[in-house]
Amino acid sequence: MAYSDKVLDHFKNPRNVGSLDKEAKNVGTGLVGAPECGDVMRLQIEVDEVTGVISDAKFKTFGCGSAIASSSLATEWLKGKTLDEAAGIDNMDIVEELALPPVKIHCSVLAEDAIKAAINDYRTKNGLPELTDAAAASANA
């Protein structure tokens, strides 16, 4: 199976690889997937507490090229977005941007899950209720 140029680009030059301080109050961490399934993504966001805008995002991913590209792309998209905007990122946007084939759609789903998990971690830390699917859907609308 041939990878798209965009997947190859993100795989060869992954953006925003690394870690943020997961103990910090303004950092949200999402860890999704499982080693047994061949994919683990850790996605972190740092939120500007005054503006509510994501000021930084980092990832580390154990997985195939599409999984790495999906998480790399997600960190690019997250920066500069408000939490509500971030919650509206849909896995199919990632599929479209990276031209993922059907067998790799699960990689984009995992990236969306990682984004939501990171947002929820931040919200929990800051005494906000967790996102529900409905809230995510309305943010998406």
């Binding site: 683990v40 991913t61 789903v109």
Partner: protein, 406 residues
């Protein structure tokens, strides 16, 4: 502009044709194009002579009679013919077949097919080192058992089964023994008669011959084995396999067998050293595991898990330069990791982290040096990206984490 040669370390998938094989084949596409079944003219005689000679070359490699070699389209067909053919031919004697979980799909799926036709199949588990447990095998045999089908060497790990011991158990209980020897023939000595194997599948393209031609060895005496043909037609190959013979392919197969007989030992010795060097160098990396019994293994194969790195992602770091294969899910549409490694008791995580390196006649020292460098760099790069490598390095017990399986 010079383009660097792509390094091919996937010889268990297929081998390149030896140029000496191709040279012998070429005339059979041009002047000598006859049908080996045409008994009435020169073109047919010439083709038949060529097929006979090839059959002798193959029989000599196996130390068997030439009439015991039945040509097919490849090992998948040979496996189908052997297992389905025995099941149908010996239906009165019983319906039970014993095989193992680590067999090739051509055997497993054939057995699954027969289950629908009334066969009872026992799929033996293997030990952690990939070997079949002989006590388990013997315990599985019952009065209705007609066939044991176990591979000579495994395609993913190179592990060689204890063929002579398995044959003794089959002999003791009067059960036929078939072996898928696709990965072994032409690489190590495979003498079915001396070993006690009654049917043996193999193919040309794993031994530097062409694709699309294989054979089934069928013992003619002590015991005289018969298989029911799976295709109806002109009754070629002693009635066991109808269809016009692929004469150029068979000629190439014969030449490949002759070369294997003459060069197998020197190839195996050279490749064994190269494989050992490759494996030792890659195991300098932290947290690696060699999969399969290293004492009973094909000389040109090693299967290594690089912990906390996913195999397909790892391959992407070097697949512009090196061709290997991975036991990870994502290489196939199934998303399941290698069933062979899982059957050996490897966790799914380690199965996802595995890479198979299979060397061949045309692998050079420089190829191995380059592979060591590129794979080492790739593993280090992927570990930099891996959250579970970071957690492992921080001393987190990964087994204690509640992963959200998906």
């Amino acid at each position: 502009m010079s383009q660097r040669r792509l390094i091919y370390l996937d010889n268990n998938s297929t081998t390149p044709c030896d140029p000496r094989v191709v040279d012998t084949m070429v005339p059979y596409f041009y002047d000598k194009f006859g049908n080996a079944a045409s008994r009435s003219h020169h073109f047919g005689w010439e083709a038949e002579d060529a097929v006979d000679y090839s059959r002798e070359q193959i029989a000599r490699l196996l130390n068997v009679e030439d009439k015991e070699v039945i040509f097919t389209s490849g090992a998948t067909e040979s496996n189908n013919l052997a297992i389905k053919g025995v099941f149908e031919m010996y239906a009165k004697k019983g319906n039970h077949i014993i095989t193992a979980e680590t067999e090739h799909k051509a055997v497993l799926d054939t057995c699954k097919h027969l289950e629908k036709a009334g066969a009872e199949i026992t799929y033996l588990k293997v030990q952690e080192d990939g070997l079949v447990n002989l006590a388990d095998l013997e315990a599985a045999i019952k009065p209705s058992t007609i066939l044991v089908s176990l591979m000579w060497a495994n395609n993913e790990t190179g592990v060689i089964q204890p063929m002579a011991e398995i044959a003794k158990i089959c002999e003791k209980h009067g059960v036929l023994f078939h072996s898928d020897a696709t990965q072994a023939v032409g690489k190590i000595p495979t003498h079915p008669r001396e070993t006690g194997v009654h049917l043996m599948s193999f193919t040309a393209h794993k031994m530097y011959g062409p694709k699309g031609v294989g054979a089934l060895y069928v013992s003619r005496k002590n015991p005289r084995v018969k298989v029911t043909a799976q295709m109806d037609g002109g009754g070629h190959e002693r009635g066991m396999r109808s269809g016009t013979l692929n004469v150029p392919g068979i000629v190439g197969f014969g030449k490949a067998a002759e070369l294997a007989r003459l060069e197998m030992h020197q190839d195996a010795e050279r490749l064994g050293k190269l494989r050992d060097r490759l494996q030792a160098a890659l195991c300098q990396l932290e947290e690696t595991k060699v999969n399969g019994n290293e004492g009973s293994r094909m000389p040109h194969v090693t299967n290594i898990s690089f912990k906390h790195v996913e195999g397909e992602g790892l391959m992407m770091t070097f697949n512009q330069n090196i061709a290997v294969s991975s036991g990870s899910a994502c290489t196939s549409a199934s998303l399941e990791p290698s069933y062979v490694l899982v059957s050996m008791g490897l966790g799914d995580d380690l199965a996802h982290s595995s890479i198979r390196f299979s060397l061949g006649r045309f692998t050079t020292d420089e190829d191995v040096d380059m592979a060591v460098k590129l794979v080492t760099d790739g593993v280090n790069h992927m570990r930099e990206l891996s959250p579970i490598w970071e957690m492992y390095k921080e001393g987190v017990d990964l087994t204690k984490i509640e992963w959200a399986a998906h």
